[in-house]
Amino acid sequence: MIQFNNKNTQLDDLLARMAEEIQLDDTRKERMESAYRAIESLLNEDTGFFKNAIFEIYPQGSVRIGTTVKPTGKNEFDLDIVVHIVMDWEEYSPQFVYNQLKRVLQNSDRYRDKVEPKNRCIRLNYAGDFHMDILPGCQETDIDDNKLVVPDRKLGDWTSSNPRGYGKWFINKSNLVKMSLLEKAYAMENLPADEFSKKKPLQRAVQLIKMYRDEYFNDNKEMATSSIILTTIAGEFYGGEESIFDTIDNIISRIKKSLSGLNWNGDRLKVLNPVNNDEDFSDKWEEDKEPELYEYFKKFVAHLDAQWQNLKEDNGVLEEANILKGLFGESAFLRAQYSQVNYIEKARKSSEIGINTKTGILTESLAIGIKKVRSNTFFGSEQ
């Protein structure tokens, strides 16, 4: 499907193609899925603690909410999964539950060498491919089957967590829009939507913002704003926009507005966990912690803002290509651009393109006012 008739759909088409290029591919996803299913089987086979425990395993984070971005450079992708146990947790110490998971993994020939204990989770290192962080958690109450308490080893106590609740919150936000601009464009042409047009604008926006973050902080990775902060801000500020472009535009302007209000007060922006307001994801931005992270976040937003405003001007695709390369990286942009060109060339070969006789815009439709593009061979001497 060519989306050249309308300026906004054309840009959204390109943005969606870019996000599609940089998300985790299906083979990698399947490999991770089978890796975490294998953990489930291992726990089911346990003759100790897990034998009689009621538990389930599910992913959390970007895989859960459809906002994955391929890691850049040497970074590995991390899959976060939760072992959600239903039991009378107050009878046990957090260390006990943590150690039960560690025991099962360390007793397994398959996982022994991969185990790396972390503060709350146990990491399995699949060398050179990805790592999986397994978080053991106990359901806090019967009333809410999403809220967990998880062991915090540094704290020596339980701490609360709600990964599934967070996922629900984000998906609900994404669904504020019923049909995105791209879905509508496809529906109008009576064409089945490509897989890539089905993702919601908020999900695409988060992928793109994270991608831009990776580009922006490429030489300064330790100052990069975390994904959970960016995802949460995007979800909080999303207003149900239909296009990816407007979604990002609105998120930027809402951040700017909040920042200018706060600067006036001398306060900082707080990014609270939407399903547990006691948790401040942006805790590190405190004056006595790492306030430089906050300064970098503000610079990052200002830069994105300037570029995004440029995209609103009628600069032509050449200038826009430079802006988009700068924001999201040259290779992702070029792959997206190529997938568009490739589409045009395929349609051309099967004589399915025409031009609008008023504007010259290429289109797939062959309705009234459209002149078919006949078969031709570009020729010419090299000067």
């Binding site: 050249f4 008739n5 309308n6 300026k7 054309q10 840009l11 009628d314 032509g316 695709v317 050449l318 826009e320 290509a321 070029l334 651009q337 190529y338 060109v341 490739n342 045009i344 060339e345 051309r348 393109i353 025409g354 031009i355 006789t357 008023k358 504007t359 010259g360 815009i361 290429l362 002149k371 078919k372 593009v373 006949r374 078969s375 031709n376 061979t377 570009f378 020729f379 010419g380 001497s381 090299e382 000067q383």
Partner: protein
């Protein structure tokens, strides 16, 4: 006269077809030439390109982009698929993709848009993805 021979279009017929199919373009008929000019953009986010076309029956239609001026890409490569003076090479004459039995309105104008699309992409990616042939390459 051969029964099967196709009819050649007269200049007047070329003029009328352009006028009718592209009401936004300026089309002018002179004694032995038809002239056409206007603006085209291959996609909604592209710039408008002004072009000028002139045609004399039995010759190659000359198409030139007048604004913005065509230029080399970021690799400093020469513009592909142009004749001298940057006139666009839109078809291979030996294949008879265009000849005096065909309408400029049907062939040359749509090909110009398609050429512009690939020209823009060539600037963006450094690659001409629109296919075609260069005579020099055959002689290598």
């Amino acid at each position: 006269m051969e029964v099967n021979s196709k009819k050649k279009y007269t200049l007047a017929e070329q003029f009328v077809a352009l006028k009718k199919d592209y009401p936004e373009f300026k089309v002018r008929l002179e004694k032995n030439r038809v002239f056409c000019s206007g603006q085209l953009r291959p996609t909604a986010r592209s710039l408008y390109y002004s072009f000028k076309l002139s045609y004399k029956v039995g010759t190659r239609p000359k198409v030139k982009i007048t604004d913005p001026v065509l230029k080399r890409n970021f690799k400093n490569e020469k513009i592909p698929h142009v004749y001298p003076y940057d006139e666009l090479c839109l078809y291979y004459p030996n294949y008879q993709e265009f000849n005096s039995e065909k309408l400029i309105a049907d062939c040359i104008i749509p090909w110009t848009s398609l050429w512009l699309y690939h020209y823009e992409n060539w600037h963006i990616s450094g690659k001409w993805e629109g296919g075609g042939m260069h005579p020099k390459l055959k002689n290598r």
